[in-house]
Symmetry: C2
Subunit: 363 residues, 2 copies
């Protein structure tokens, strides 16, 4: 291992002091153009790359962003992370990854992250409610951006989608296809997105003048098994009371529903139309392929990074501006979703209305 080139070496070789080299590194304006040139050239020649660790330590801020994620095997995560990674790449920040594996308290991890003093900001990918500890830290000034889920009223700056509107569109799609009795398999109540999707469903029914039947709303956990359970529960209903269609609050549950439906002899979409939510990779491959709301995961990742960095820089200026008292509501970036029409809703086969629906999907 060749000994690392340090700022001191550069200073000596360029005939300047460490301070000047540091100024060049940080693109301070008060360096003579000529000097800067010379220093830059020496750095180039020596292949000098400053130590992030040292810079972070000395400067009191670090160029590492902590990313807190659920396990990668959760299907929405890889695509989000791809966006995050790609956005980071264009900056001089790096990612420190904290993956919450099952069974471990998020608070523990959050503590671990921060106490290390390694990262100066945090990107949280967290379905479900935020831990109090996180909120506390954020209120103490830690720049945090949350991806997805919590929707307004946002406690923290966040990037996500409009769950209510998206659910509304999903349900409305079924209504337009002519289904009247439309069921809903909802996610757990502690997820705000689950509540919002439910509201969107209700709103669509209402606007279409369709009666709301509580018996058609099933409770799920966002996991595959609860989709299966829902299908099983559904077939116990008397034939006359069965729904003609169902809007399922995420694709994962929809997969369970589909597979159980098949086993129960329920044909999708002939006997029952299905629309999901998320559009994860598998959705295009299950049989029947799943009509669903596409969440722009990649874009969410990118936007979250950009928001976080802008926060980070903005904050650095805060002490100057001094908006100590005036508390503004945190930024939320809301990205558009899209209805992806596939087989499970019957639009392509049942009513031959695909032209109409295609144009709708491109709205």
């Amino acid at each position: 291992m060749k000994p690392k080139v340090t700022i001191e070496d550069i200073a000596r070789l360029a005939g300047v002091s460490k301070a000047t080299v540091s100024r060049v590194l940080n693109e301070r304006s008060n360096v003579k153009a000529e000097t800067r040139e010379r220093v830059l050239r020496v750095m180039q020649e020596q292949g000098f790359v400053p130590s992030l660790a040292a810079a972070g330590l000395a400067g009191g801020r670090s160029r590492l962003v902590g990313v807190l994620t659920p396990p990668f095997t959760q299907p929405t995560v890889p695509e989000i992370l791809r966006g995050v990674a790609e956005a980071i790449e264009h900056t001089d920040y790096e990612i420190v990854l904290y993956s919450t594996n099952a069974g471990q308290s998020p608070t523990t991890i959050v503590n671990r992250i921060l106490a290390l003093g390694l990262t100066s900001c945090l990107l949280v990918i967290q379905p479900g409610p935020l831990t109090p500890r996180l909120l506390q830290l954020a209120s103490q000034g830690l720049p945090v951006v949350v991806i997805d889920d919590q929707g307004p009223p946002p406690e923290l700056p966040s990037v996500g989608i409009d769950n209510r509107v998206s659910a509304y569109q999903a349900t409305m799609h079924l209504i337009r296809l002519g289904y009247r009795r439309i069921a809903h398999l909802q996610g757990p109540a502690e997820f705000r997105c689950a509540q919002e999707r439910y509201q969107g469903y209700r709103q669509a029914l209402e606007e279409a003048g369709l009666p709301f039947d509580p018996a058609l709303v099933f409770n799920g956990t966002f996991e595959t098994a609860s989709g299966r359970a829902c299908a099983a529960a559904l077939v116990t209903l008397p034939l006359a009371e069965r729904p003609e269609a169902i809007f399922i609050a995420n694709d994962q549950m929809a997969f369970g529903f589909l597979s159980a439906a098949e086993a129960l002899g329920l044909r999708i979409p002939q006997d029952l139309a299905v629309v999901g939510f998320d559009d994860i990779p598998l959705s295009a491959h299950v049989r029947p392929t799943l009509t669903t709301i596409k969440q722009p995961f990649y874009e969410m990742g990118r936007n979250a990074v950009e928001l976080l960095l802008s926060l980070l820089h903005g904050q650095a200026m805060q002490p100057v501006a001094g908006t100590e008292g005036g508390y503004q509501s945190p930024i939320r970036i809301q990205l558009p979703t899209r209805l992806v029409i596939r087989e499970s809703c019957g639009a392509l086969t049942l009513h031959r209305r695909q032209e109409q629906e295609h144009s709708l999907s491109d709205e």
Copy 2:
């Protein structure tokens, strides 16, 4: 933001010097038990967590492992990363993630990583050949572990599977099912694993006394499109020359093959049996479901971390032992694979031999 508790605070509160606190932190033996107790108690009370950045800087070694991965959307990656993350969690190391997005030279990234001086070791998840730069660095003493692919003769310590044997088993499975003309869609030649899988295929044919027909070996790229191309090429063969089965070198290509085959009116497995390689999540969901060799990605991740850390610690001791001259061949951890029997090979439907095959799959 409350001011961070530093080692100095602890020292003062415990009535000792910074040096002693540091000793306690690093579990040095030469601290009186009583003193240690006291220091630990104060640390506990203060919620002290040492700064990784400072420790790394001062100690000249860091507690960050760099992880170099292909995009997360490559289907084998999330599962590997899950293993990596979980293994890391049990240590006091953290992950710095470098994701190589398409189009960017791995060498650039490797340089970026190292120059930063942030990480003291590197975990490389890289399908395909290693960059010379990486080999160079490793030979200069940087602890590097590579996941997958390169098989023996390994240039670097690595974790992977025995591709040849696994391919042999896949092919042998087809042979046992009674197929005689067995094709192979291979991966690109620059991937050693592609070559090895090809060899395993050849070996199985040979041992079974089946003739090898070069016309039945197709070239692929490991991507979906080349699976489709292969299917298209295959149907141009005169009926008499068509294979009865095909062993495809990875699942991604198998998916392409399956979908093209369906479009071409080729029934799988009735007209042609298919076995893939990898067992990525989608493999259980395509139609027909794919019989394939399961790679233990999660375990590979875990093992790689363990190997890397043991290397890291071992290396620290090297100067003492001083094996300067004697160059040993790098460690390779080879994990077992398993044949997962699903629909595409016909074992479950065609010959009703499933009992026999099940027991085989559990070997």
